[in-house]
């Protein structure tokens, strides 16, 4: 029981990170119907920016008060990663809008290769370890198993991740449902041509979608960095595929679905590693992806696609 609760907490933490990345996939798919293959690498870029900013603030400016440092890191990472997201869209996807569907998928794969190798060349291929910054936590349960005493702990780090994700989700839902930008975004999602006829600047809205996705991915990148303490140029691929799985599981195009799917994938991965084998945890994620797409293509909360002939 204690072990189960501990795994549940770990799974929710991991799931929050996947959920934040998944939102980027689901929004882009919703608005232009393409899989933004480079989104996982935008997440990786975000975590590198966060790492460098953190080092500048702590070692050069000598900031010591951690909450302020993390807040500044968060803001800078969001701003700069957004610029990356915007540029990727502008360079690789916008020129191909209206082209056949495979074209942006190919440039997205190309962009993914470019981002990975850019970071590898400029920052080196070795992993970047960052010692744990936030330590400690609160003990929720204590118990005894056959292997000895077990303590269920909710660390401050996990609390921060879950709370930040919740806050971001609330803010983001408000942004989509209440602001003119959100309205334009939903309009473009429903019918791009009609939206542009009614005076919505479609190109700008699509750009902003990429910017929002990238900003959320950078938050996920910062959390990943703080939670695992190790990043390298290749983290984007697996995280990207899993987040995409989350988006599909939740129903692609649906924002609450992306978060729900993220949590589900996080839980499945953690429980799989906890109760079965660690080696095959990626197989579990990939199999879920295949199974969901084959048997439940519209996901948990998605709308079934109606095909007109």
């Amino acid at each position: 029981m204690e072990y189960f609760v501990q795994q549940l907490i770990n799974g929710l933490t991991l799931g929050s990170i996947y959920g934040l990345i998944a939102i980027g996939y689901t929004m882009v798919y919703g608005i232009i119907g393409m899989i933004n293959f480079a989104h996982g690498d935008i997440f990786m870029i975000g975590s590198f920016i966060a790492l460098t900013t953190f080092l500048i603030l702590t070692t050069i400016f000598g900031f010591v008060f951690l909450p302020v440092v993390l807040l500044i890191v968060l803001i800078i990472a969001m701003l700069f990663t957004s610029a990356w997201g915007w540029t990727v869209e502008r360079l690789a996807y916008r020129p191909l809008r209206g082209s056949f569907r495979l074209a942006p998928l190919i440039t997205a794969i190309g962009m993914s290769i470019v981002l990975q190798n850019f970071v590898q060349v400029s920052q080196g291929a070795r992993v970047k370890p960052l010692p744990p910054q936030i330590q400690g936590g609160v003990t929720i349960m204590e118990g005894v198993t056959e292997n000895g005493p077990i303590v269920v702990q909710l660390s401050y780090m996990q609390m921060i991740i879950i709370v930040t994700t919740l806050l971001l989700m609330v803010g983001f839902t408000l942004l989509i449902s209440r602001t003119p930008l959100g309205r334009a975004q939903r309009a473009c999602e429903q019918d791009r041509k009609m939206a542009s006829l009614l005076g919505v600047n479609v190109d700008r809205t699509i750009s902003l979608t990429f910017v929002m996705g990238a900003a959320l991915a950078s938050v996920a990148g910062l959390m990943f960095l703080l939670l695992y303490g190790v990043i390298d140029f290749y983290i984007g691929f697996l995280a990207g595929v899993k987040a995409f799985t989350a988006a599909v599981l939740g129903g692609i195009g649906s924002l609450p679905g992306a978060m729900l799917g993220g949590l589900a994938i996080g839980l499945i991965e953690v429980f799989w590693s906890g109760y079965f084998t660690v080696e095959y945890k990626d197989v579990a994620a990939f199999s879920i992806l295949a199974i969901v797409l084959i048997f439940l293509p519209s996901g948990l909360l998605g709308k079934p696609e109606v095909e007109k002939v």
């Binding site: 393409m34 080092l55 056949f100 960052l130």
Partner: protein, 461 residues
């Protein structure tokens, strides 16, 4: 009046120049922002945690290069009244229009060159023959893989991002057959092809209902699953350590070895390691040509026609009574079979395989070759392989760059970066691939090329 016109022209020119400057400045600013955390600042592992090293000159150089490059592009291509690229393009188009049958002639010229290629290198580049023939083998392997994938993506319109799985199945089939049953290359080759085709059907079954992007993602997932299983099934596949000591192919039982009974001894030649490379080259050339020949013939058979009909419109296909299940499965199986052949060849060439060689990146490269060449175009695959693989490998030979950038400069580490940029660049410039015409397999009155825009491409409908 002439004066005002000239004035107007000058004003337009002036405007163009100012616009170009503004645009280039924006681009340079963007590079400054994007590059800020990556180019001038580098995090390194130092004693007591991570430390930052500074490289300001690189950042400034990158900004200046982008500014200059963008300015030149603006002045001569993007904003110019007669873009330089159009002038060159017109010239090229004019020359090809002047010579009828240039394409056919080129095909035969390329084929002729491919046939004599090893001897060309041994005659003209005796110092580097081994390296060049090895590169030719590599390019030929990618051409074969590209042709194999072209059946699935180009003809049947099924977007497959996990093609490397069949390459891996072929390679591991041969390696394991050789290890456990002591089979030679020629015995294992058909078996590897059959096994890969079998896997093509197994993986094809669940995805019959999927189309377009979803199909791509599920095939990617299958490819990764196969790789992770190969990586973790230690008792059977030796896991990350891979399998080594894979036997070399023989020529009707003649081994390419020194001394008694070897190839050189039998024909009374002096022993040289290059013989084996030339032999390997001809094996892959023949395998690739078989792939091409089979594809070209299949296009004229009912099954090939069904593939292309499926690519154009699945619903129409079904209403005309074509069994789409069989059509899709045959496409997967035949594409996978050629992937399996190529995989066996890869295993025998390397003599060592491990799951490292079969990552998603390989699939992406093969798909990129097919799409950049022009989906469904056989000659396009050849051109794209030569440009992308050959061009990237040529980076190894560029010595003069280290004189510019200092001795520590190693162009090889930039190859995948350049590969990715080329992928994006070519796709934005020519979304339909380098070869923009297709030859339909069925014609009413006269046989003529049509634009690639007329052909559905992996859109899954």
């Amino acid at each position: 009046m002439a004066a005002t016109q000239a004035n107007g022209g000058a004003a337009a020119n002036n405007n163009m120049f100012v616009d170009s400057l503004k645009d280039s400045a924006t681009a340079a600013f963007l590079v400054a922002v994007l590059g800020f955390f990556f180019l001038p600042l580098k995090t390194d592992i130092a004693s007591g945690g991570l430390a930052i090293t500074y490289r300001w000159p690189i950042w400034i150089a990158a900004i200046l290069i982008v500014f200059g490059g963008r300015l030149l592009l603006n002045l001569f291509v993007f904003k110019a009244q007669t873009p330089a690229t159009r002038i060159i393009g017109d010239k090229l188009a004019g020359s090809s229009a002047k010579v009828p049958g240039l394409g056919r002639f080129l095909t035969f010229a390329l084929l002729g060159f491919a046939l004599v290629l090893p001897f060309f290198f041994t005659t003209f580049f005796p110092g580097q023959q081994r390296q060049y023939i090895d590169l030719a083998i590599l390019i030929m392997t990618y051409i074969m893989l590209g042709w194999g994938l072209n059946i699935v993506v180009g003809l049947a319109g099924l977007l497959d991002l996990g093609y490397v799985a069949f390459y891996a199945v072929g390679a591991y089939s041969f390696a394991l057959l050789a290890e456990y049953f002591d089979l030679g290359f020629w015995m294992a080759l058909p078996l590897a092809g059959i096994l890969a085709a079998f896997w093509g059907i197994i993986l094809g079954f669940p995805v019959l209902r999927l189309r377009g992007d979803y199909l791509a993602i599920v095939t990617l997932a299958f490819g990764e699953i196969i790789r992770v299983v190969l990586l973790n099934w230690y008792e059977f596949t030796n896991g990350p350590d891979g399998i080594s000591g894979i036997p070399k192919p023989t020529l009707f039982g003649l081994e390419f070895k020194r001394g008694e009974g070897g190839f050189a001894d039998f024909f009374g030649l002096e022993y040289s390691t290059i013989h084996r490379f030339i032999f390997l080259y001809y094996i892959i050339l023949i395998l690739a040509l078989i792939t091409n020949f089979v594809t070209m013939r299949l296009r004229k058979l009912p099954v090939g026609r069904a593939w292309e009909a499926l690519r154009e419109d699945e619903i129409a296909c079904r209403s005309l009574g074509i069994n789409t299940t069989n059509t899709k499965l045959t496409a997967f199986a035949i594409g996978a079979m050629f992937g399996g052949f190529a995989g066996s060849f890869f295993a025998t060439r390397q003599g060592f395989i491990s799951p490292e060689s079969f990552t998603f990146l390989e699939s992406a490269i093969i798909l990129a070759i097919v799409v950049l060449g022009g989906l469904g175009s056989q000659i396009g695959v050849v051109i794209a392989s030569v440009v992308m693989i050959g061009g990237i490998e040529m980076l190894r030979n560029i010595g003069f760059l280290s004189q510019i950038f200092g001795p520590g400069f190693d162009p090889v580490q930039y190859r995948m970066l350049i590969f990715g940029l080329a992928m994006v660049g070519i796709m934005v410039w020519k979304p339909r691939g380098l070869i923009t015409t297709r030859v339909p397999s069925a014609v009413l009155k006269e046989r003529k090329k049509i634009g690639a825009d007329m052909v559905a491409q992996g859109e899954g409908h």
